[in-house]
Amino acid sequence: MDRRRGETRQVRLRVNGQDHVLTVGGPAADVAVTHTLAHTLRETLGLTGTKVSCDRGACGSCTVLVGGEAKLSCSMLTVECDGLDITTVEGLADPVTGALDPLQQSFIDHTAFQCGYCTPGILMSAKALLLKNPRPTQADVQEALSGNFCRCITHYHVLEAVQAAVEAGAASATAPDSRRARR
């Protein structure tokens, strides 16, 4: 790939386990040099689950996982994403069975959304936390979700939903003693 001033270059993205090769610049461009990752996910790849609200890095609704970490897709240039492994809210469900991620199911069970615009971002921040720390405390959850805003004030339901998913995961996945050893 031409890293230098090349008019045309290619960006390889893995999104929800699927590989994409996008051309930046030139007559057959998929992506412009000014496009953000959020824009590319939504407009080029059709993954409209990722939402754009403030588009300035402040609200967290565009949060996706990049290499397992919660990042703001509105504040990343797609040309700078070559080689990244990205998970969006569409990638949370089991690709084979279609079963929802336990976090998603818990959000449904606890009605942890109202308009739902912030929800994909919150789910991805919560997922990033659980990947790093499967047994977070309430304070850990609050801290991890502190960059996600909800205009509809669903925060309390969200905390319950995440906590319930943590407890359900703990009950099903681990015996009580190994559970203590984890954290």
Binding site: R3, R4, R5, A32, V33, T34, T36, D55, R56, G57, A58, G60, T63, E69, A70, K71, L72, C74, S75, M76, L77, V79, E80, D82, S125, E143, A144, S146, G147, N148
Partner: protein, 328 residues
């Protein structure tokens, strides 16, 4: 967003050379948490013609100890400072300041270099192009400062000259209290070192086109010091400091050998409260001394029409920070 040429730099030297060639019409992009907003809002009359991505430059994200210094690469993320056990043990002030920045996502993406070099948040300066901007002002070299006659509730009360926008970086405040220096790489392979607070001139950063921060070097105190960072914001989290304070006290029983008190949110640069340090240095320190330090810290403040309230906040924060250092 206006279009630009985009280059992924393979080394810091390459980035410096490209930006030097672009002569002020280029910008480095590190975490992008500040730059993307600047580009989207089109706040400058001319957009950058060249963006140089620094993220592929290797070896610039480390936090390590060498002798009596901690070295922090310019590409180290704020989250990595927040997590660092080395920093927690040697320079807790820096961990507190890094944690006080923005949101978890901003800390995961944002870098130390970008934090120190981010553009000011003055609302005239940031006025978006798509709603009638950009607005010219003294800092942009285009007309007078609009905050002087306008709404200056978030502007400075110390040391403004021409421009009264405050330094938005939380790290700069903590690093100044710790006596840190930045190592600046130039286009010809040169290196120069400046104290963190000297990065900030009233109307600009002291970086020439083609100069980039390579690393920050922080002396580890010879004796463990008491360190506290406090930040007053309108809403918490995600907000820039209305006022912040970084305090570091070298305690000696009830006494205090030395002290550094630095205020943020009040001046174009991190503001050393020298008179407060004077109050604390030498003698015994208790709650009364903390209160006197708070008074001394705001002596000589020159509020603008809408920001005198910052003086009271600064006084209280300094007092609280010193007391926290006593309790610690």
């Amino acid at each position: 967003m206006r279009s630009f040429t985009h280059v992924t730099a393979g080394s810091l030297a390459e980035a410096c050379a490209l930006l030097s060639e672009a002569g002020g019409k280029g910008r480095a992009n590190a975490g992008g948490t500040d730059l993307l907003g600047v580009l989207k809002d089109g706040i400058h009359a001319q957009g950058p013609e060249l963006i140089v991505d620094l993220k592929a430059v290797s070896g610039l994200a480390e936090v390590s100890r060498e002798g009596d210094e901690v070295r922090i690469g310019a590409l180290a993320t704020l989250a990595s400072l927040d997590r660092s056990t080395l920093l927690r043990e040697t320079l807790p002030l820096l961990v507190q300041a890094a944690h006080a920045v923005g949101t978890p996502q901003v800390r995961t993406m944002g870098t130390v270099g970008g934090n120190l070099c981010q553009e000011v948040r003055c609302w005239y300066y940031r006025y978006p192009r798509h709603v009638g901007g950009p607005v010219g002002c003294l800092r942009k070299g285009d007309g007078p400062c609009l905050a002087v006659k306008g709404d200056n509730r978030y502007h400075g009360v110390f040391g403004g000259r021409g421009c009264f926008a405050v330094c938005p970086s939380d790290l700069a405040v903590a690093l100044t209290a710790l006596g840190a220096v930045v190592d600046i790489a130039g286009p010809d392979g040169s290196r120069r070192e400046v104290a963190v607070e000297d990065l900030y001139e009233p109307t600009t950063l002291t970086l020439a086109p083609g100069e980039l921060l390579a690393e920050v070097r922080v002396p580890v105190p010879a004796r463990p010091t008491r360190q506290t960072f406090l930040k007053f914001t309108v809403r918490e989290p995600v907000d820039f400091a209305v006022v912040s304070v970084a305090a570091s006290l070298d305690r000696d029983g009830p006494g205090c050998r030395d002290a550094r008190i630095v205020l943020g949110g009040v001046s174009p640069r991190p503001h050393r409260a020298l008179q407060a340090e004077e109050v604390l240095r030498g003698g015994d320190v208790d709650d009364q001394t903390a209160a006197r330090a708070g008074e001394a810290a705001v002596a000589g403040a020159k509020p603008m029409r809408h920001n005198a309230y910052k003086i009271g906040i600064a006084r209280t924060l300094v007092e609280r920070a010193v007391r926290a250092c006593l309790d610690a």
